[in-house]
């Protein structure tokens, strides 16, 4: 039996990206939410909720990068070069934020305010430029032959800035619903307050992208609105609407885990929707996954290990989250 290896690899990479968004999205969101919480102890609690897990979270981003290089070397080469500036800024944001996150707890008292700002700045920068990168990617990449031939600033467009803001609000919503689950009392109340307007902003972002992309790209309009695709694919927006509705209801009902789960589903559906829009392109708008795929010898060799090892990794990951489950309180953790 002949497998469609590039298709399987696309699924693997989407899975790694989804894992990254699930796992790093909320902890970037916590950095974005920092300015809305002033109390130092509350800020300590916010950080401690993600402290034990965020290291491992970023490994999924490394896997996404390495997997893309293994399976679609041409896409890895062209896309990362074309989006050079936003990717470098994103990486610097992640470094800065990661280390700021650490040093905040060890710095002398007088320097802590500085590391708070660095944490906010790094998180906002990383989230915004992930979104910008995504928007610029959807907009398409100028090629001549097999090399990027556009300009250094091609990534700047109204659409990419809009998706930058969209990813920021989506991560902030993941962060606030995560904190509803992981905290209590005053901080939890505060997060309930900020989640409602955030959901509104996420709706605007989702609607914006859903209207903007089919208008700008006829191929995307055709993907979603031609028959019979329309019937098959309409479950995506329907599920988004149901999830949004249940998220708003759960915010009122006082369950503390459900809002986070609903928020995750919404963000993943958004990601899935974009994948449907772009498929089968891997370098939009002209190069497909089959054209950019590595030789079968590479795809097979890497796939064997990937499929064998990822389940084991998932077991570790779930286990480590279970070790740290439960509410985080003032005074827990660092001292």
């Amino acid at each position: 039996m002949d497998f469609d290896l590039p298709m399987i690899w696309l699924a693997v990479i989407l899975f790694a990206i989804a894992m990254y968004v699930i796992m790093d999205g909320f902890d970037l969101g916590i950095g974005i939410l920092f300015p809305f919480v002033k109390d130092k102890h509350d800020r300590d609690v916010m950080m401690n909720t993600v402290a034990p897990v965020w290291d491992g979270n970023e490994t999924w981003l490394v896997l996404g990068g390495a997997g893309l290089m293994a399976a679609f070397p041409l896409a890895y080469a062209v896309v990362l070069s074309a989006l050079y500036q936003p990717i470098i800024l994103m990486l610097l944001g992640l470094i800065f934020r990661g280390v700021a996150f650490e040093f905040r707890f060890k710095a002398p008292e007088r320097e802590q305010a500085f590391w708070d700002k660095a944490f906010i700045g790094g998180s906002v920068t990383a989230a915004f430029f992930q979104g910008v990168t995504l928007g610029a990617y959807i907009n398409g990449i100028v090629l001549s032959g097999n090399a990027f031939s556009g300009g250094a600033f091609d990534w700047i467009s109204p659409f990419s800035l809009f998706t930058g803001l969209g990813v920021m609000v989506a991560y902030a919503m993941l962060g606030s619903t995560w904190l509803i689950m992981k905290t209590e009392d005053k901080l939890q109340q505060r997060m309930l307050q900020v989640t409602r307007p955030l959901v509104g902003l996420v709706v605007i972002a989702l609607a914006g992208v859903s209207i903007w992309t089919p208008l700008a790209h006829p191929s995307i309009a055709e993907r979603w609105f031609s028959l019979p695709n329309f019937y098959f694919l309409s479950f995506v927006p329907v599920l988004v609407a149901i999830s949004l509705y249940s998220l708003m209801r759960e915010l009122k009902s006082g369950y503390d885990r459900q809002p986070f789960i609903a928020a995750l589903i919404i963000v993943l559906l958004g990601l899935f929707g974009l994948a449907i829009s772009i498929w089968p392109q891997i370098i939009p708008p002209h190069v497909t996954i089959w054209e950019a795929a590595a030789p079968p010898a590479s795809l097979k060799f890497a796939l064997v290990g990937t499929l064998a090892i990822i389940p084991v990794i998932l077991v570790y990951t779930i286990w480590s989250y279970r070790v740290f489950k439960g509410k985080v309180r003032h005074g827990d953790g660092y001292h």
Binding site: A70, A77, S81, Y84, Y316
Partner: protein
């Protein structure tokens, strides 16, 4: 600087980010194995000193590991952002190897790191030792994959070229390419040496300050035993690695030797010289006759490749690697000397009190890291002008960014790295100046309370101001 090209800037950026990065994983590899030995010794002998040292170095390990993770993230993307020609051409080989590194090493380390760092009182001693062993194993597996990938770029085989890209034919041959075993052993030993020198320097510092405890003595003693055993071995492995280079990358070897043309009789070993790529000669050379031939060919008059055997556009920059190689070897000789001195003092019974020796051990603290950087500069610059040796030139590998983009990103990397990792390294130094504490350092959670253990980088628990006041007080 009108002479700087976009290619130069991209190379400087890669060299800068990878040089910063390599320091952290090298120390991580050494410390993880050291921690495993300490924990195994504690379980075997029941001596408190091993447990106390374990917890002491575990904090330093945590900070170092975290910096390795963040600086490594950049490397995973930089092949694509800056070297798209290379990635499109050889990603079919490099990509799968890196994917295996992430899957078999990074996740293994992440999976067991939590228990290693915080599980001391949560799991049994056997399971805890197993966690330390798995983290140590993860660091070694990581080194294996990344060095297989790098070695393939140095001595590529097991592939064919079709439609302008590399097509893997034999993965066994790709991974076990000719320079891989030598590079793996050489780098593995280098990581152990660098760590031993760092641990030894910390021990020496405490002893010089009069903090003569069983812990500080054990620190120095174990580090020196490692040095005695391994530094001479490294010289032998280095010799084999050099012979491998002679066989597969003769131009690199000629540049290391500063050797330009063939003469009658044997080749000298140059101790000093200024290789000049323009004038095609090595100025002011001072050498020992015949020794070059003797070392490289194991014969008195053996022929050694000369730079003029290769067209100018295929020559690596001898001005740099002539010296980076000598820095590495010079430091290696000093490591062997320090090890021998330690044996002598041990025999005389003054290992822990001889101030001259302790000062040398202190000053040699960074020598391993510097030697690693010098060695990598030698082998990487020596591979030039090729990115994949003999197959693809570095100039064809680079992404086509304009100079201002690259200058901007390089400036940002330099600013952020010096600031962030500068602070991180100062923090490591600070931890190494703290006294070794007794007893279990872990805060206990209340019964039935799900507590929030600290994450790796947060293991160092006190603030700067508190620690510096207490660092002389505890031990006696």
């Amino acid at each position: 600087m009108p002479d700087i090209s976009a290619l130069d800037l991209a190379r400087i950026q890669f060299a800068f980010t990878v040089s910063f990065h390599i320091i952290f994983p090298a120390i991580t590899i050494g410390l993880a194995s050291y921690l495993f030995v300490l924990e195994a010794m504690w379980l075997k002998t029941g001596r408190e000193v091993y447990k106390n040292l374990y917890h002491y170095w575990l904090k330093i390990f945590g900070v170092n590991f975290g910096m390795g993770v963040v600086s490594g993230l950049v490397m995973a993307y930089q092949f694509g952002t800056n070297w798209s020609g290379f990635s499109a051409f050889a990603g079919s080989v490099t990509g799968p190897l890196l994917t295996y590194e992430v899957l078999t090493a990074f996740f293994l380390e992440a999976g067991f790191l939590g228990v290693m760092m915080f599980g001391w009182s949560r799991v049994g001693p056997g399971l805890h030792l197993l966690s330390t062993a798995m983290v140590a194993l993860g660091t070694l597996i990581s080194a294996t994959w990344i060095l297989a990938s790098n070695s393939w770029m140095q001595t590529p085989q097991g592939f064919e070229i079709a439609n302008g890209i590399v097509v893997p034919v034999d993965w066994w041959a790709i991974i076990f390419n000719p320079s891989f075993p030598y590079r793996l052993v050489h780098m593995g030993i280098a990581a152990f040496l660098a760590t031993a020198l760092m641990v030894g320097a910390a021990g020496a510092w405490h002893l010089l300050k009069g903090q003569t405890t069983e812990a500080t003595r054990t620190m120095l003693s174990m580090a020196m035993w490692m040095l005695v055993g391994v530094a001479p071995l490294q010289a032998v492995v280095g010799d084999f690695h050099g012979l491998n280079t002679l066989k597969h990358q003769p131009a690199k070897l000629a540049a290391i030797e500063g050797h330009w043309e063939h003469h009658e009789g044997g080749v000298p070993l140059l101790l000093f010289g200024l290789p000049d790529m323009e004038a095609e000669t090595t100025h002011f050379s001072v050498g020992i006759p015949h020794l070059g031939s003797l070392i490289l060919t194991h014969s008195w008059d053996g022929r050694v490749p000369a730079l003029k055997d290769f067209p100018p556009e295929d020559r690596p920059n001898a001005s740099i690697i002539f010296w980076s190689f000598r820095v590495m070897v010079g430091l290696g000789i000093m490591m062997i000397a320090l090890g021998l001195w330690s044996v002598w003092l041990r025999y005389r019974g003054s290992l822990y009190t001889h101030r001259g020796f302790l000062r040398m051990a202190l000053w040699m603290g960074p020598a391993g890291v510097i030697a690693i950087l010098a060695g990598w500069f030698t082998t990487e610059i020596g591979r030039q002008p090729w990115v994949v040796y003999g197959i693809m030139r570095t100039a064809d590998a680079v992404s086509n960014h304009d100079i201002s983009s690259l200058a901007g990103s390089l400036a940002l990397f330099v600013a952020v790295y010096f600031f962030v990792f500068g602070i991180g390294i100062s923090y490591l130094m600070h931890l190494m100046r703290l006294p070794v504490r007794h007893g279990s350092p872990e805060p206990e959670g209340g019964p039935g309370q799900p507590r929030q253990p600290m994450r790796p980088l947060s293991a160092p628990d006190a603030s700067f101001s508190l620690e510096s006041q207490s660092h002389n007080a505890k031990e006696s």
